[in-house]
């Protein structure tokens, strides 16, 4: 075991080790080379791997995705960066129509990773705060992951690179350098399998199903509920958003019979609705209370702190919702 690392450092390590292990892995994106990326995630990579494997591009997200697809077809392993996940919208066509459908159409698998910083709560305003998962949830053929710990971040980036299909890799920018979540990582090579959720806290009275930065809100709410209400809350960190880990979702519901789904994107059309539907269809008899969804309000992400704080789900709301379920 080495020293404790941040989530950002963990992703760096994973990328670095994969580039060492496999010569076909390369990085492509805006300002990823000498500058090292807007968040400095790829700083130093160009010195080690050279400009042929760390490619600075024009401001052309559609081309970045398209080029990654083409290169992947020819046996390379592109890791494409969006400077902010908000700009994934400019690559939407390529992702949903090309990358997602290629294997199905018999045109070859696209083994590529599309990663970038997502998430709100950093006063980024409407165009630097996106959580993009539900735009892609309704597109078959794209995997999606979002880690909440350094351990998972490193294991998932490695798994994503080794995965035979396209993976969208969301990195919550609020977690990048958050001291609270720093962890020591194993020395040896490991992956965290795509498609597997993780129990972040065990409990028997109520489940919070969540992912990304909201895992911390869930854990904080669980702490309060234990102290003030004597409730034992289970927190399930999904880690993979597509394909969802249905068995893990159903297991926790069957264990606690009460469930909150918490995510940072707006509630309407969010991934919470899909999870709620799975639970309603497959674990209805196990429920002792309605399924509650908590997310941001149905607006763009506002800039001013007072507005963004209202917009975002809060620990207080999670606690309130849990109390309502507990007393149902």
């Amino acid at each position: 075991m080495g020293k404790e690392v941040t989530l950002l450092e963990a992703i760096r390590q994973g990328l670095w080790e994969e580039m060492k292990r496999d010569e076909s892995v390369f990085i492509i994106g805006e300002d990823v080379g000498i500058y090292g990326g807007a968040f400095k995630l790829t700083e130093g990579f160009i010195d080690e791997f050279g400009p042929e494997r760390v490619i600075d591009t024009p401001i052309s997200e559609a081309a970045i995705v398209g080029v990654a697809c083409g290169a992947a077809l020819m046996g390379m392993k592109p890791v494409a960066e969006f400077q902010f996940i908000d700009f994934i919208s400019c690559g939407f066509d390529m992702l949903t129509n090309y990358a997602a459908k290629s294997r199905y159409r018999g045109c070859g698998a696209i083994s590529a990773v599309f990663r970038g910083p997502c998430g709100s709560g950093v006063r980024g305003g409407p165009f630097h705060s996106l959580n993009a998962e539900s735009f892609f949830l309704n597109t078959a053929g794209l995997k999606m992951v979002e880690p909440s710990t350094p351990y998972d971040a490193k294991g998932l980036i490695k798994a994503a690179i080794r995965d035979p299909d396209p993976v969208l890799f969301f990195e919550h920018k609020k977690l990048y350098r958050l001291p609270r979540i720093k962890q020591e990582l194993p020395e040896e090579d490991y992956i965290v399998p795509i498609g597997k959720a993780r129990i972040a806290r065990e409990g028997k009275d109520l489940s919070i199903i969540t992912f990304g930065a909201q895992v911390l809100n869930a854990l904080d709410a669980a702490e309060i509920l234990e102290k003030e209400d004597g409730l034992q809350v289970e927190v399930l960190d999904l880690r993979t958003l597509a394909p969802l880990d249905k068995p893990a979702i159903l297991d926790t519901v069957k264990k606690t019979n009460r469930v909150i789904i918490l995510h940072e994107a707006s509630v309407t059309g969010g991934i919470g609705g899909e999870i709620a539907a799975i639970i309603a269809e497959e674990a209805f008899e196990w429920l002792d209370a309605p399924i509650l969804r908590i997310g941001s309000i149905d607006t763009p992400v506002p800039f001013a702190p007072q507005l963004e704080d209202y917009y975002l789900p809060s620990i207080g709301e999670v606690v309130e919702a849990a109390r309502r379920l507990a007393n149902y």
Binding site: I34, E61, G124, P126, Q306, L307, E320, A321, R323
Partner: protein, 354 residues
């Protein structure tokens, strides 16, 4: 322009073009706008350091002449869509510093009421449509503004500003091509300031000059020294006349230089040594204009200093107005996604009361 040529010491200090129809009162206004732009910049940097601004601060230091000079060629009824380094164009269009300060500071009095940052807002009465972050998007929006003007028989031209980096987007291409095909009076000003974030121009585009792209779109292309405010005005005026007389769209490449990093956090380690200093010393748009104004005996140094003093006072007053305004009420986050007389605001759920 080739960098090694750029970096030679000019034989004599650079001034501005002398072939101009501008009058003394125009020069005074231009100087004032340039000064407002630069000093506004300095104040936002100060506010950022004081942590009063929570979002990004983007500087137009060293490239103020492009936005100010080109926008000055427009009439009141004309429209602009500026990008983040075109704050000077906002002022020319009549946007008040207090409005942009309020937006930077996230105040309720901001025209966007705190929902967005910088000058991401619009004032249609003033012919101003602020940008979104997604680069290139404003080109087709401005084409739409002009399409409507054409349909409504309104005489109007518009400028869409983009950095050279934004020319690599699909949105830029689709927008300018659309305008060209429809012969819309759109002027696209490509500000070639050497860098897009850390990416140097040669990694953005393989063409020698951005103005050459005009040929491919079948429109008029003009190139201008973006640090010569008089030349920027004259070139834009030519473009405006051309577009207004029904000849179609124009692409202007303005050659300038971004002296600050992409935003405040960027330490510019990727910039070759001496480059920033060269531009600061030998090709500063405001110094050039000052030299022009004094050499041509249009204004004395003292008169220019007086304008500067007035601007400083004006901006501090504007800042005070913005700073003393209240922050938005949290609940107002829920408003105005839709027309709230038809669709209720997006209030938070109350879990315990329901």
């Amino acid at each position: 322009m080739n960098l090694s040529v750029r970096l030679k010491k000019p034989e004599k200090p650079l001034s501005c073009t002398k072939e101009t129809s501008l009058k003394k009162e125009d020069f005074a206004k231009l100087y004032r706008f340039l000064k407002i732009t630069r000093m506004f910049d300095e104040i936002t940097v100060r506010l950022k350091r004081q942590a009063k601004i929570t979002g990004g601060v983007f500087s137009s230091l060293g490239q103020e002449a492009t936005a100010v000079g080109t926008c000055y060629a427009l009439e009141e009824r004309d429209f602009i869509a500026p990008l983040i380094r075109d704050i000077g164009a906002c002022f020319v269009k009549g946007i008040l510093p207090r409005e942009i300060f309020a937006s930077y500071l996230g105040r309720a009095t901001s025209p966007n009421r705190g929902t967005d940052l910088q000058f991401h807002f619009a004032d249609l009465k003033k012919g101003f449509i602020g940008p979104i972050s997604h680069l290139g998007d404003m080109v087709s929006v401005m084409a739409g503004v002009l399409l409507a003007s054409k349909m409504r028989r309104e005489d109007r031209v518009a400028i869409a500003y983009v950095g050279e980096g934004a020319t690599s987007t699909g949105a830029f291409h689709e927008g300018i091509n659309f305008a060209a095909v429809q012969k819309l009076p759109l002027i696209v000003v490509v500000e070639n300031n050497g860098y897009a974030y850390s990416t140097p121009t040669h990694k953005q585009c393989a063409a020698k000059h951005f103005v050459d792209k005009a040929v491919g779109y079948g429109i008029l292309g003009l190139q201008v020294d973006g640090n010569d405010v008089v030349a920027c005005y004259e070139t834009a005026k030519k473009a405006v006349e051309y577009a207004r007389s029904g000849n179609g769209s124009v692409l202007i490449e303005a050659i300038t230089y971004r002296r600050k990093g992409h935003a405040e956090h960027d330490n510019q380690s990727y910039v070759p040594p001496g480059e920033i200093e060269w531009w600061a010393e030998h090709n500063d748009p405001i110094k050039r204009f000052e030299l022009f104004l004094t050499e041509e005996n249009i204004f004395s140094k003292e008169e220019l200093l007086q304008i500067e003093k007035d601007v400083a006072e004006y901006l501090e007053e504007e800042l005070t107005i913005a700073e003393s305004a209240p922050s938005p009420e949290p609940i107002t986050a829920a408003y105005d996604v839709f027309d709230n007389s038809i669709v209720p605001p997006a209030f938070k759920k109350k879990f315990l009361e329901s």
